[in-house]
Symmetry: C2
Subunit: 134 residues, 2 copies
DNA sequence: GTACTATTGATAACGAATCTCATTACCGTT
DNA sequence: AACGGTAATGAGATTCGTTATCAATAGTAC
């Protein structure tokens, strides 16, 4: 049946995946682009945006909006649904489990007749280090 | 001591407050501006942005980011901390209590040494009506 | 190698939100 | 009721993150 080509492997996508995995916090598309360029890669900005969007829809990356409205991305272990504890000063991120919250969101949605709940649960704060530095 | 003037009452602010209270879902600044203009008000867009930002900091309005990154506002009863269940199709909003989630956010932040937790807990879904319409 | 076409990337376009600054008008004071 | 200091307004310009355009490039199947 000559498997129809659906996705091609390019060094650009690998570069984005690699750079995303190398960072342990949330990064913006522009930030990631800068990092890649500074490390010598001639990758284009639009490509970084596209790669990140793809990774996010494929479940290989988590995405969220910073309080300022920027889209931020972070590599994650696929298949796992989890939330984050993020330092609003240095960007340090801790993955947190929230089974209880999952169930709560589901039930609260169902209670009011809502379907396809898509919850946003993230905690921004100051990490221990940044707290002390003040 | 001739109490120094700090805030002035203008019909523009009242108009924004009124329009915000008249809507029972979350609205964008631009949306609210359109509504006001269509109802004959010559209010300016920048003023709507400023009024909404003020209302939000004064605790008279809740604000959140839509999944698309837009800032949305909604009138709320001051002093009460609550979260929302929002229809991503029609904007219908239900205020939900989440004491359990409050405590969870606090404790999870403390567990990891984070201070000043500022959690974002909102559930987007399809309301009963919009679910049926599909 | 060749052909087909998904992907790339420089740049233009878009849109939400903010800034500028001259004008307006609120409000305490006279 | 008029005055004056100044907060507030608003039209337009500006910023900045993100997406669209489209010709050129480069995977992949054959």
């Amino acid at each position: 049946m000559t498997n129809p080509t659906r996705k091609r492997n390019t060094w650009q996508r690998e570069a984005v995946r690699g750079a995303l995995g190398a960072d342990d916090g949330f990064v913006s598309a522009q930030g990631l682009h800068s990092v890649l360029r500074e490390s010598g890669s001639p990758i284009g900005l639009a490509t970084v945006y596209r790669a990140l969007a793809d990774l996010a829809t494929e479940g290989e990356a988590d995405s969220l909006q910073s309080p300022e409205g920027e889209s931020l991305y972070r590599a994650c272990t696929p298949g796992q649904h989890h939330h984050h504890l993020i330092c609003r000063n240095c960007g340090l991120t801790v993955e947190i489990e929230a089974d209880a919250v999952e169930r709560w969101a589901q039930s609260v949605a169902a209670e009011h007749g809502f379907t396809q709940p898509n919850h946003v649960v993230d905690v921004f704060g100051l990490c221990a280090a940044c707290s002390q530095a003040r």
